[in-house]
Symmetry: C2
Subunit: 317 residues, 2 copies
Amino acid sequence: MPLAIQADDVRAAADRIRPLAHRTPILTSAVFDAEAGFRVVFKCENLQRGGAFKIRGASNLILSLAPDALARGIVAYSSGNHAQAVAIAAKHVGAQAHIVMPEDAPRSKMEATRAYSPRIVTYNRFTESRETIAAAILKQTGGTLAPPFDHPMIMAGQGTAALELLDDVGPLDALITPVGGGGLLSGCATIARAMRPGIRVFGAEPVGANDTFLSLQAGERVTVPHPDTIADGLRARCPGELTFPVIRELVEGVVLVDDAEIRETVKFLLLHLKILVEPSGAVPAAAVLFHKLPPGIRSIGVVLSGGNIDFEELVGY
Amino acid sequence: MPLAIQADDVRAAADRIRPLAHRTPILTSAVFDAEAGFRVVFKCENLQRGGAFKIRGASNLILSLAPDALARGIVAYSSGNHAQAVAIAAKHVGAQAHIVMPEDAPRSKMEATRAYSPRIVTYNRFTESRETIAAAILKQTGGTLAPPFDHPMIMAGQGTAALELLDDVGPLDALITPVGGGGLLSGCATIARAMRPGIRVFGAEPVGANDTFLSLQAGERVTVPHPDTIADGLRARCPGELTFPVIRELVEGVVLVDDAEIRETVKFLLLHLKILVEPSGAVPAAAVLFHKLPPGIRSIGVVLSGGNIDFEELVGY
């Protein structure tokens, strides 16, 4: 079966999302390089509109819908960043968004989403299924589902982060992104391997939510029943049907970091790069900082995927 | 008497400092705009090399010195950011830096400076004079003093922050920067009024270190005996001999914020813009957020001048 997206889908997404997504800055840090042992360039999606890369995929999908589809509304389920992105993009085109969020989502993420006036439906992520709740709303409204990762338009949209990164910097040996359901990683791998055929692409996962790591080992999609990590955006239980084949084909490997390493990295990025990165967004930087990558890499692009974290959580680090 | 610098000095500085200073990104925030009531663009000097705008002035001065002057070394006194900037620029050209720092300077600033291997001399800022200590080192070495603000090359260098900001954005009604000794404000006012003759330029000071505010009221330089504010970079007791005439001529006014407003703004910038700004650097943003500016402004450029703050201090906010 052909892969769900090609590089041209990412290029088309880059044009489509321009009215909604910022071209985020690239930062470097001599202090980080010294710790890592090689050159690191950071793509700052924590400085993206809505505080995360998610606006890329959400706007790519929503801006491609016909007026009659938009009139029936958009439905999304998400722990936060995707929800906010869908709410922003829906509001931009005048469509009603219905957001299904876990009741224990970080307060900052829930409030930020609420600011774009979607309809919010909360659920208990230990006892209820967000997919079932979303399906009921879809049946009632006839709206369009904006899934968090497993959709070609979402995957292609997320890939624009790597497209911009590689457009803006010189040669790189490698690229690394976080992996939740695999939307960001699959999109970035697709465009990166097209733009720089020799580039090595990695994913980074928390040890407590290592579904993609296990899936690559097994050669098929593996489900982790109860993901447990502070990286709330990466608690997907299983890689996507569409994302996993792309990852298996184009990604060299997934490396793992633990929660202590993630916390340490959030602090390091805060104090040395002067930017706030949420735990999920800091996972690939943690992989670099704690030397989890295979040898032979002298330069790497790191996608810092989001910056939405509560102050109360940060001060505990 | 003519003013100490002209716009062409700032333009020359922009060319000179290119090997050492980053062109920092511009950020915007819909949430901040909503609170401010108008459009705000942020020049992120907290993301500058060394974590503050100070590298601009320090490298403008040091890169202009002849080899024989460089061989005798550079002397600087500073609460931190200027010290680090001088250490970075001196190391870049292979000159010895002698840094006179208060013994209670923020630990992060002292450690960051130490990383560039200058000779560090500490002093008690309540009982000793940094000027006297620096003078003794100068006498001994025959080196060059890099004063923190009151020097044409320093003032012109700092002005490049406004030059880049105005190069990168459309029309703005106003520009605001922090004021310590006035190096940044005088340099920025000089270039801003040349590039955009109608622009209104403001300084922002802590109420506990309001020497420039009082000096503008009095029409002459006034000394504040014991500045008291969390904004450690703005504890100058008196505006400079060279900076004050520029400020009096080109700046509409200085507005004041208190320490509680500064803390609140540091948190706001952290959580909504996802960037770490130190108290001194957040002062002009606090002036905008807490509506201290006169009416009639619908857009403003804000220089976020630095990001060097200890984690222990931040968590107390």
